[in-house]
Symmetry: C2
Subunit: 310 residues, 2 copies
Amino acid sequence: MKKYCFGIDVGGTTVKCGLFTADGDVIDKWEIVTRTEENGKNILPDVAQTILAKLEEKKIQKDEVVGVGIGIPGPVNENGEVPCAVNLHWGYTNVAGDLSALTGFSVKAGNDANVAALGELWKGGGAGYRDMIMVTLGTGVGGGIIINEKIIAGSHGAGGEIGHAHVEDNMTEPCNCGSCGCLEQFTSATGIARLAREELANTDEPSALRGQEITAKAVFDAVKEGDAVAERVAVRFGEYLGKALSVFSIVVDPQIIVIGGGVSKAGPILFDYIMGPFQRYAFAACKETKFALATLGNDAGIFGAAKMVL
Amino acid sequence: MKKYCFGIDVGGTTVKCGLFTADGDVIDKWEIVTRTEENGKNILPDVAQTILAKLEEKKIQKDEVVGVGIGIPGPVNENGEVPCAVNLHWGYTNVAGDLSALTGFSVKAGNDANVAALGELWKGGGAGYRDMIMVTLGTGVGGGIIINEKIIAGSHGAGGEIGHAHVEDNMTEPCNCGSCGCLEQFTSATGIARLAREELANTDEPSALRGQEITAKAVFDAVKEGDAVAERVAVRFGEYLGKALSVFSIVVDPQIIVIGGGVSKAGPILFDYIMGPFQRYAFAACKETKFALATLGNDAGIFGAAKMVL
């Protein structure tokens, strides 16, 4: 009876690692440094080594391990191959094949945002559901689409890259992706700060946001204090996000939409601004779609990676 | 060895029926009338009767039949149940269960637009692909999302109802669904005719469209003749559709987008107007998504229904 699995989440700075039971209980979690030098050639060997060392430490036999799931910051195809991963300094890498050869275990690989979404479905904000859209509001906007508990990876590895949905024709400043008018430009932490600078520049109204560093956190803190300028920023944020989520929902019709990332730390107040526009624009049958906040934070990736092999 | 299957496509007026080999060759196709009187209570018994009669006619034994697939004009859940189907005058109907009881065969049921999409993937414009978005430009705009050769039915039966994606804030006339600004209002046959009436009203320019009935066909016929007003209509149509398809693509990242329905009879000229906006707004990795026209016409439903049980 195989009882254990590993969930690995490779980031540009650290690799997060988790040893799980097959029921999803965390036995141990730890981090190692991501060695990106020499085109990141040490990354997978380092992962293999830490996995094998952990087995020894925990006195677990290899035949008790179901396998290893691993999330990568880049596109990953259905065979677990990565054409390139800029943050890891990788060109083409057969992640699943190489890590399997290094460890002797069955390996599944996925894009890190998609894998984190799967983690939230399994043990986080989407627990108990099967079909989910996750949107991650961080420095950028990422996402993941989970249907019937499986990641929609996409035929070019771009499934769930919803931060780059075009939502605004009147935007001349380019997004990091090169296009203009992406959802990310208005609803990421960076985007919210830009909306706030715009609102402040357009008015002489007093606001708690003046004279401090403008961040998404500062905006939602000010909203909670009743600041009128911050409130207008939140309304614009919610209009962009709620409307976009209504469009994504008519494509895959999820049971639940889970909001994660740093911006989601503002808490349930986000829904006060997202739900109105969502309800206004959503197709009738989708208006009852549930919303929840992500709960796993930075651990979502290791949970989702583990779930991939179970 | 089971060698045959049935594909059934229930419409408000007729039921289209197909007898197929397991390889997807059509042995026979025919239609029966859809008897919607008495809350449509005869529809499934009529379908069962025509299936059993066809077996007798073709001297096929029941144990040679894999099963029956059936498309229904309404939402269908994963158990093959229909909460209601307005055009059939049905309330709750357990389509898969009832038709299975009536025929003795395994039955799979799906929404008609989704089932037609599956047919196009199997034997039509999407043949050879696995992941597809189909958009059907008819009186309304329907669609279907197929991932890994499976229909995304959606948790409220609304998967692929992309005609009701919100695409225009400056629309005050309501869509059939009750919302304002749906994709259907600009890219259906009806929507294209409305765009044409608007363009004609806004100018005194001569146009072949003046003095005739304004239809989508008339618009694209005039485009082919170089009519400047019709050309502007086509540009607006393509801008709405190409942009919307770029957003749908970032959600599920298909290999191919297939365009069907009456409007698609205009032919490849449609792509001249759709591809530019699609390329402009699509995420980099999705720009190489293929486009094709549907090829099965009204037979897509029986093909897709048959495919569901294979």
